[in-house]
Symmetry: C2
Subunit: 340 residues, 2 copies
Amino acid sequence: MYGAVIHAPGDVRYEQRDDPRIEQPGDAVIRMIATCVCGSDLWSYRGVNPVRRPTPMGHEYVGVVEDVGADVRTVAPGDVVVGSFFASDGTCEICRAGYPSRCVNAIPMGRFGTQAERLRVPMADGTLVATPGEPTPDLIPSLVAASDVLGTGWFAAEAAAVGPGKTVVVVGDGAVGLLGVLAARVQGAERIIAMSRHADRQALALQFGATDVVTERGDEGVERIRELTGGLGAHSTIEAVGTNESMQQAIRSTRAGGHVGFVGVAHGVELTGQQLFNAEVHLFGGPAPVRRYLPDLIDRIFRREIDPGRVFDLTLPLSEVAEGYRAMDERRAIKSLLMP
Amino acid sequence: MYGAVIHAPGDVRYEQRDDPRIEQPGDAVIRMIATCVCGSDLWSYRGVNPVRRPTPMGHEYVGVVEDVGADVRTVAPGDVVVGSFFASDGTCEICRAGYPSRCVNAIPMGRFGTQAERLRVPMADGTLVATPGEPTPDLIPSLVAASDVLGTGWFAAEAAAVGPGKTVVVVGDGAVGLLGVLAARVQGAERIIAMSRHADRQALALQFGATDVVTERGDEGVERIRELTGGLGAHSTIEAVGTNESMQQAIRSTRAGGHVGFVGVAHGVELTGQQLFNAEVHLFGGPAPVRRYLPDLIDRIFRREIDPGRVFDLTLPLSEVAEGYRAMDERRAIKSLLMP
């Protein structure tokens, strides 16, 4: 089969890879319907994360089950399935507590590289969720979004304790931030302030439910949020970038007793205990427990209550994956969908 | 009147100070029944916090109301009252949300110095709580504890999401840590692991409800907690010291999805975003919203359900306040009670 392999920063190639096959009795092998490029893939593409050897890429996926191991019970050949970016057993104490991405047997799906024609999924029962029927083509982008960016935005909103009557700030206007806006709306927020200085992303944020847009950053951004919140700061803030600037922005935009949900993969973020003691905000984040949310999110997508697939503003054949990276790197695209 | 004034590290004097009087219509003036020395007072005593000029000391207090301003409605002369270490208006949005120590008009009571014969309390209606009757003398130490260390331990336990079925680790065996143990027990924890290497504090921790004592620290401490928790770490961890070592200990002792409640006043604590992203623990702490808890805590003390006053293992006349500091500094006492 063919799939994406990164050889060096800026150098993603579509090349032949070994065909996946059932290796463990809990495995499934799926044929890819759609996959995509994640903002976090750009950390390698831009050389922020080192690329030490040719590495398969991608961790988001919707596919059709082709084969399953002897122990698989919940999905069968022919099923359309969505999975999380972490494989999880679904049975350990951490999974049962709702944190499958931190399963004691968790395996990052990025290790297999989902930007490929086929994919082996370990622990299929704990990792995959079958759709309630054959999705129409218009639902595919939203299902791919559920696999990571929607689930991550959803988690960020939950971690930020979004709810009715709350004012929510969203730091970051990438796909996760935009879907954090959508999640905040669905979870009942009263006011949603998107921080963005890109017209196309502002427009999508407003379509997803943002009530205000703030273009300022840093001290000015904090000042503007305070003006909009009676001097107090937001109840809930979603951090969806992962830089020190964005995390500081998030914490400083939140009132005492409020909540910051952070899901940007952290690079260079430094916090002091004194700062956190004085801010007195709830801080929670990490890899989103996407598998926990998938049944609910798939249901909302099938009922057409939400349309998270709108974050994809570029669709390419999988063979043009390199252009998918380039377009996101150059900010010509918010997020690139790839169809084999 | 007389009260404690720090002149330099290690130099606390009992000396004449101005008599407090009603200055604002919301003020009360109380005559001190009992006050005490806080672990956080030692930051100045040990020179960790600079002492730039002679400064009144103390922020914990139980007293009898002597006089009130024209606007005071909820307490009256003759009432025995307990107050928080922050004065708060009780009416702003932050107070109503449950964070009176972060009231938009908050005033630290340390500014007035409660280790004194009399005390002006601003915003008396929002700050003080009258006891349901004249407390018997045996209740006084517990009421003083409610003013800070009990309320702080209570908050830490809540911030750590303590509850039935949970395993709780308590880092720190000072008065706050010990009362964190008590709070964890009352809040229903199944297992409470006190980290302590002092026999007297271990004994009190066990009396307050600890089920296990761990004497190891650092990597060995984390390893021991993992052994006791099926390799996963605790559900809930209370951090009651405020050093980098104790905070790292707390975070590393907690399972993914678990909660760390930190109340040690932070000195030198440094955290990276990557560490927090990978740990995926809820982190919450700061100055405890003691005023929120006071009605409940006073009730529990009067019903003799809890006896937090046992953290005081040294009682001195207020005039011997200097010895109260020395005894705590030299770890001869867990906490010094001072009676004018």
